[in-house]
């Protein structure tokens, strides 16, 4: 199609994501705000989408694109899991995301973090940014607010933290980013995935840690 590629004026998910890989469990954490430029279409979006029982994905970028991709991958992964007759691997889910994101990279604006637990490698985090790269990382951030917390995550993350330390770290990171990024805000959603299941938590606006220096 010869038209110039203008970014779609649809809703954009701009927010911060930071799943932290931790053995054996993994907290996922997201802030919620769907913005149509100056108007917030949904101030309590759930950007933590379950793909399978123990696999979640954090969505950033265009809401329509990421919802559509997540639906497609949920279907593909469910089918694959039934064929195997066992829970799917997180790496498989991440590869399915990467396949869609890379093939349609010209048309899509989707930055996704896939995180979950499986029996083979335990807790894992895979990053599938815009363009369709796939890389496994112990800790990853994404979204428009992520630029503000790279330093925070680099300095505060230590391997082999406990679950509660991880949850605190991610909640703090997202709160800091929400403080500074105009497109992020609302509530903070956390999900902790382990062998025993998924534990979801919401931190409302008035319960967020306060960091304001002025």
């Amino acid at each position: 199609m010869e038209q110039t590629r203008v970014p779609p004026p649809g809703k954009r998910l701009k927010r911060v994501v930071s799943p932290v890989s931790l053995y054996p469990s993994k907290p996922l954490c997201l802030s919620d705000r769907l913005s149509l430029r100056a108007y917030i279409a949904n101030r309590v979006t759930d950007k933590l989408t379950p793909i399978h029982d123990r696999i979640f994905c954090c969505r950033s970028g265009s809401a329509a694109d990421t919802q559509a991709i997540a639906d497609v991958v949920t279907y593909q992964l469910g089918f694959h899991s039934i064929e195997l007759d066992e829970p799917p691997l997180v790496e498989t889910a991440a590869n399915l995301f990467r396949a869609s994101c890379y093939r349609y990279r010209e048309e899509l604006t989707a930055g996704i973090l896939v995180a979950g637990w499986d029996r083979r490698k335990g807790g894992q985090v895979y990053c599938v940014p815009i363009g369709g790269m796939l890389v496994r990382q112990p800790v990853s951030v994404g979204g428009s607010g992520s630029s503000y917390i790279y330093g925070f995550m680099d300095s505060n993350y230590k391997p082999n933290m406990t679950k509660d330390q991880c949850l605190e770290l991610t909640a703090a990171a997202v709160s800091l980013a929400m403080e500074r990024d105009g497109s992020s805000g609302g509530v903070v959603r956390l999900a902790s995935i382990s062998k025993d299941g998924v534990e979801r938590r919401v931190i409302l606006g008035n319960q967020l840690p306060k960091y304001s220096t002025h």
Partner: protein
């Protein structure tokens, strides 16, 4: 906002007064189009004649999904626009409904509300149009954006959903309608300008979704869409409470739409409501005539005899009856 709906193909060969270009014919032959019934126009003579539109066959229901995105019609639209502009004509603009639509979930069900003004640019095209569309007996959908798009999209999904309900043997769920709508809108990448508020009650309770033209959806307890959505959302954010009674919820929706009507130029006229509960459906049109046309208090007509007659002369005109025809009136 799209310039041409998919059902119409403007006859630019008649508009421009020359034969269709060969390369366009080849392109059309290559594309896998649905069957098109081409009607030859016999009345187009001068260049001043308005473009004659032929209608393509309606979209096939339950079309098997084609992989990827199909931009064939966008290419065609761009070519047509270029050609029309060269000659000095502009393609007709799609009629939009600057709108306020909203929905709220209350204790037993959902209430959908909409205004009734349809605008064409700065003119009110329809003072009392119906924006709450039927999807299934337990699911209704309000539409904002391009009027034709919302109308057609809801009709397509309604018919597909009925087929689906017949083949599953179950009452259709709101989530199904939501999936069908979002997948169709995503496939067209926002070129179908339909922003919808979908609400209904099914076996799992009352549900309310908002669906944007690019295909993203949100499931929320209260949603607003359209140009007046900010005004309506302000009312909702102030007064919404979970598990409201029906009367309170109706009042809230009425006030939200009224806020949109009085504070947004694109919305106006009356307020339509649709109350959907488990056993009952109330399609209240109009619920509130917020903008009734006033009655004139004075009149400039004068009574007979106000002006006195001074002289009067009657002249008979000699006319011949040339032709007499009798037209039967159908009074059945």
């Amino acid at each position: 906002m799209i310039k041409n709906t998919q059902c119409y193909r403007p006859r630019t060969d008649l508009l421009l007064g020359k034969k269709k270009k060969k390369k366009k014919k080849a392109k059309k032959a290559k594309k896998k189009k649905k069957k098109a019934k081409k009607k030859k126009s016999t009345s187009c003579t001068s260049g001043k004649h308005k473009a004659h539109f032929t209608k393509m066959a309606t979209l096939a229901v339950r079309q098997s999904p084609v992989g990827g995105f199909s931009f064939e019609n966008c290419k065609r639209n761009a070519v047509l626009e270029g050609e029309a502009n060269k000659v000095g004509y502009s393609l007709p603009a799609a009629r939009k409904t600057g709108t306020t639509i909203c929905g709220v979930v209350f204790k037993d069900g959902v209430i959908l509300g909409a205004d009734t003004r349809a605008t064409e640019g700065m003119i009110v095209a329809d003072k009392n149009c119906s924006k709450i569309h039927y999807i299934s007996p337990n699911i209704y959908c309000c539409g904002a954006g391009t009027a034709a798009d919302t109308e057609m999209t809801t009709q397509i999904i309604s018919s597909n959903l009925e087929l689906h309900a017949l083949s599953t043997g179950r009452v259709p769920r709101v989530a199904t309608a939501n999936r069908m709508l979002k997948q169709m809108l995503f496939r067209y990448q926002g070129y179908i300008g339909a922003a919808l508020v979908l609400g209904g009650v099914d076996c799992n309770g009352p549900h309310l979704y908002s669906i944007y033209p690019h295909g993203s959806t949100d499931k929320l307890p209260y949603v607003t869409m359209g140009s007046g959505s900010l005004a309506a959302m302000a009312v909702f954010e102030d007064r919404y409470k979970p598990d409201m009674e029906e009367e309170d919820a109706k009042r809230l929706v009425r006030d939200a739409i009224a806020a949109g009507i009085f504070n947004d130029l694109g919305s106006g006229s009356n307020i339509d409501l649709c109350v959907i509960t488990k056993g009952k459906l109330d399609y209240i049109r109009p619920h509130d005539e917020a903008n009734k046309k006033g009655v004139r208090t004075g009149d400039y007509k004068y009574k007979r005899g106000t002006t006195s007659v001074l002289t009067k002369s009657v002249t008979a005109l000699n006319l011949e009856v040339v032709e007499e025809t009798v037209l039967t009136m159908d009074t059945s």
